[in-house]
Amino acid sequence: MLVYALTAGVLFGLFYSLVGLGLNLVFGVLRMVNLAHGQFVMLGGFAAYLAYVRLGWHPLVTMVVAAALFLGIGYLLYPLFAPRLAASTDPEMISLVFFFGVAEMIQALAVIGFGNNQRSIYAPVFGAAPVRLLGERFPAAWVVSGGVSLLALLAVYLYLYRSRLGYATRAVMASREEALVSGLSVGRISALAFGIGLALAAAGGVLSPFLLGGVNPGVGVGLTMTAFAVVVLGSLGNPLGTVLGGLIYGVSLMLMQSYLSEWTNLLPYLLLLVVLLVRPSGLLGRGVRHA
């Protein structure tokens, strides 16, 4: 049972890392908490469902298409809101309220467009036979989702640490002002980062019906909170920390489900509160008031 919980925890952890990474990237570059992140994940879930039921697309095909689409949407939307928010008196707080409004709109539109019902996808689309890992049997969809998440995480790593643009992105994360002074096109890099954040949300969303049992318009709030817990666990603004945070979260989730299943719902919230209160320094000191 322990081996099963730990392995399943790693598979789920990779998925939660993917969901958290988009939120963290947007925060690191824009200094804004995208409170609508979970709602974008939810849209990815509906994309997977609709593409499978209406068009017969394999979820992995949907994933590539949805990620590309969201990348474009994010890149184009960025100039419409970000400069205005950045110019306000308290950008951090104002942008939080702004994304909160966006989240409400997306959720309302999802209810209007897709209805309030839980939608799930026929799971054996990834292969009917369970996969054996370390002597335990897991649904193929879990293993494929874990593997695909790992590939996506690797792709983001290569972008951030092995490409010119990624190098510039990290420069903006380190100091927006100095990046501006050095002549980097901070606006374009930020727009791209916002697009990538949404693309990661969509990619995670496409996998979500398989790991979470389905998708409905109400899952967004919980996913945003979980993503935030994962990000804070790792430390905000640090992409590699998010992977660690996701793995810790996934493993503790599975351990809770195996040994204390009635209290599983509490986990993301308790984890978030404990980390924020006990180790706010894990946030690189940014979460703490200095007065």
């Binding site: 939080l96 997306i106 209810v111 209290w263 509490l266």
Partner: protein, 305 residues
């Protein structure tokens, strides 16, 4: 007219309307809900308008008040009015437990308070605690059900809340809180006890939500954890406050009157359309009118209370 008197006039007019309107239009539940949101919006206003902390999880205090009141009736056999006070006390105790959250800034606080309210909800609704809170099966207070008395008590709680905001609008303490909001370092330099003032505002706002939750439980008398810990309660209170204008007495009153009216026209049967409208309203407000509707009047030189 001296400014204190104009404030008192607002208070008297609002309370008188709450007492008279149900006689003219017989829908007591509608006016009760209106008062619930008037009070909750002012509770959010005390915290966000005067200290800058945005409590997404404000409903946690509301639900705690409702459960505190119910358990005081069911376990301690208190009469309803002292039980409502017990609900307020329960919310203040939760506020004390969560006071360390005030160490967090801006977005962190907002999200942490949301997490805290969800944590309280999952504890209260947990099937393992059925013996204490009746878990997910809900509470029934049929024995003490008395809609007209609970309506009057709600008018009292609303009066208390409006008086508290009026006090903050017109007192040294309100100015101190706003100074802390705008620049905590300078306020501390000027000899303000920053931590104490913040915690007091936090507890006052928790007390209001707890009392409102207690009266709400009494009024509806049968409810489930999901009824009183519904996140959309916090969200609506916040949206009403932001729409009207924070840091004023009249702003939230205006916001609740306009938007709650709108909600009752379209929101009850088709909540998703109302959600879409207020989502869009928030986005537009933040981008084009961050001070809320009250700032339109201020811009024309009219002093809003």
């Amino acid at each position: 007219m001296p400014r204190v008197w104009s404030g008192a006039a607002v208070l008297v007019v609002v309370l008188a309307l709450c007492l008279v309107l149900p006689q003219l239009y017989a829908n007591q539940f509608l006016f009760f809900d209106l008062m619930v949101y008037l009070a909750l919006a002012q509770g959010v206003n005390i915290l966000y308008g005067f200290t800058g902390y945005l409590p997404f999880g404000y409903v946690g205090f509301f639900g705690t008040g409702a459960y505190g009141m119910s358990l005081a009736v069911l376990k301690l056999h208190l009469p309803p009015v002292p039980a409502v006070l017990a609900g307020g006390v329960a919310a203040v105790v939760l506020g004390l437990v969560l006071a360390p959250l005030l160490r967090l800034s801006g977005a962190y606080f907002a999200i942490a308070s949301l997490a805290a309210s969800q944590a309280v909800y999952y504890v209260v609704a947990n099937p393992s605690l059925t013996g204490v809170t009746r878990g997910p099966y809900g509470i029934s207070l049929a024995r003490v059900y008395h809609p007209s008395q609970s309506y009057l008590v709600m008018v009292g709680v609303l009066g208390l809340t409006l008086a508290a905001v009026l006090y903050l609008r017109r007192s040294r303490r309100g100015m101190v809180l706003q100074a802390i909001r705008d620049d905590p370092q300078s306020a501390a330099m000027a000899g303000v006890n920053v931590v104490r003032e913040r915690v007091l505002a936090w507890l006052a706002s928790a007390l209001i939500a707890g009392l409102v939750g207690g009266v709400f439980a009494w009024q509806i008398s049968v409810f489930y954890p999901a009824t009183v810990f519904d996140l959309s309660t916090s969200i609506m209170a916040i949206v009403f406050t932001l729409f009207g204008g924070t840091g004023t007495l009249l702003g939230p009153v205006l916001g609740v009157t306009v938007l709650f009216g709108l909600y009752n026209v379209i929101g009850v049967s088709e909540p998703q359309y109302f959600q879409l409208i207020y989502g869009a309203l928030i986005v537009l407000l933040v981008l084009f009118l961050p001070g809320g509707a009250a700032s339109l009047l201020k811009r024309r030189g009219i002093d809003v209370l």
